[in-house]
Amino acid sequence: MAPHPQGDAFPLTRHSLVAAVRGPDAHERTRALDAITLAYWRPVYKYVRLRWRVEREDAEDFTQDFFARLLEKDFLDSYDPVKGRLRTFLRTCVDRMFMNQARDAHRQKRGGPAVHVSLDFEDAEHEIAAAAQGESPEDYFEKEWIRTVFALAVERLRAHCAAAGKLTQFKLFERYDLNLDDARPSYADLAAEFQLAGTDVTNYLAFARREFRRCVLNQLREMTGSEDEFRREAESLLGVAPE
């Protein structure tokens, strides 16, 4: 699904995806569910693989099945933001559905994905291999959720910078803050590489980080069910633990 020109992957009339899913507009409901799928399918897939120790093919089927049923069965109607976080609710739904299917020994193999979002299981499978050992499945699900939030925010940022004619800012951010190496280039190196003044590197990176923060918060807002939940999640994600 191509990101929106303004940089938001899913410009909604409502802030929250959950609110959009429950809204009257069928088209918006579908788009909201697609966005939820995009945000949550990786954590769900990886969680199922590690928690329930199912084979890859079964996990793929289950993940597609889950999000298809999300669309059909109005799972989100029973979600109450006051009682807990959306991601916890979804994880619980995953567990429940898996246990029900295992009990009924009934797993429908669908002819093709009923969801509109492209699910790159190959990529996800490689990412599992890099996972840390010794975590509880719940912690792993949370970690993957955070990773997805940040990854989607990076895509938003990319689209936003492209639309605003600030691709250099994004590339600097990608080069420095998304650098895979522990030893990152210095600002002087970046200035030479991008043929910029040193102060420009500082300012461009500051701009990109500022926009990235905004993208993270916007992404988070969409992925939570209420303003209170959003604040709690933002505090958990962006707040600082006291020494």
Binding site: K143, A151, E155, N203, R213, R231, L238, G239, V240, E243
Partner: protein, 322 residues
């Protein structure tokens, strides 16, 4: 979608947690703590080359109401120029859009940690030092509303500062405060619009009953006196309960009936001072024995000298008869 490895996620998370001070004169040093609506960071003022504390609205607090409350806190602090109230140096909006204000960095201990191992006399003297900035604030029509040991800091030279005026209420008709306040008086003559009607704000255990019930129209400076009484009780109760006159002082301050409390911080301070000097306090009616004990305690040396003189005289008489 780009895959972000764990270390990149961790790095991004750390960077997001830091306030964006680009373009400002400040450089972040470390995180100090989290308050009700914001974070407090130790930073360096690169122009004046000194340490300062920055109070910044939390990243998720995008509400204009919270930003205006933070600014209001800065305005209140700026009007309270007193050695016992942390001074504000600057206020504004960071490049990332978050409201902030800059204040003096106080390196010290909060009251609860500072009084460990301290004797009663020193605790009472410390308590008197807390009353000074509070009385000053009240004289300027400002009520703190969140006094507690965690909001009192004792600096390295024994200076006492009252912190966190985020819940302060501008009360009364002091023109130097009310005229420039951000809101017009709403009801009862108080400029109380920063909290929703009936909203309960404060800390349990140190909050006056009328504050706990959300009866905002009843809250005046005596709510702070209640809190001061609670602080006094907190400071004096361990390891053993204090003498009855002291208990009477903090019980009077903490009376559930507002009119029964001390009318001012000054009155309460005067009673504490009287107790320190061995004089009777207004909050407690001594019986004859207690009065005699107090006088004897206050004049111990004189009594010993007179008794010694009388003993000497008696011995002279006894020996002269032999």
């Amino acid at each position: 979608m780009t895959f972000l490895p764990d270390r990149v996620v961790a790095r991004l998370r750390t960077e997001l947690q830091l306030p964006d001070l680009s373009g400002t004169r400040y450089r972040v040093v470390k995180f100090l703590g989290r308050g009700g609506m914001g974070e407090v960071w130790l930073a360096e003022d690169t122009v004046l080359e000194r340490s300062i504390a920055l109070k910044i609205l939390s990243p998720e607090s995008g509400h204009a109401e919270l930003a205006s409350r933070l600014m209001r806190e800065a305005v209140v602090l700026a009007r309270l120029e007193h050695p016992g109230i942390v001074p504000v140096h600057d206020a504004g909006v960071l490049p990332d859009g978050r409201a902030f204000y800059c204040m003096k960095y106080v390196a010290g201990q909060t009251l609860d940690k500072h009084i460990t191992g301290m004797d009663l006399h020193r605790r009472l003297q410390l308590l008197l030092r807390i009353t000074e900035p509070l009385a000053f604030a009240h004289s300027r029509g400002i009520i703190h509303r969140d006094l507690k040991p965690g909001n009192v800091m004792v600096g390295p030279f024994g200076e006492v500062l009252i912190l966190d005026w985020g819940l302060a209420k501008i009360h009364g008709n002091d023109p130097s405060v009310a005229d420039h306040g951000p809101a017009q008086p709403a009801r009862g003559g108080s400029a109380e619009t920063e909290t929703a009607h009936g909203a309960i704000m404060g800390t349990p255990g140190f909050m006056a009953p009328e504050q706990a019930r959300g009866e905002t129209s009843l809250i005046d400076h005596r709510a702070d006196i209640f809190a001061l009484g609670a602080i006094m009780a907190f400071m004096l109760r361990a390891p053993d309960p204090p003498a009855r006159p002291l208990q009477a002082i903090y019980n009077k301050a903490m009376d559930a009936e507002i009119s029964a409390r001390y009318a001012s911080v000054g009155e309460m301070a005067a009673d504490i001072e009287r107790n320190l000097q061995g004089l009777p306090v207004t909050a407690y009616r001594e019986n004859l024995w207690e009065r005699a004990s107090r006088l004897a305690g206050r004049n111990r040396v004189a009594i010993v000298l007179v008794l010694a003189y009388l003993l000497m005289r008696i011995l002279f008489v006894v020996f002269s008869r032999r």
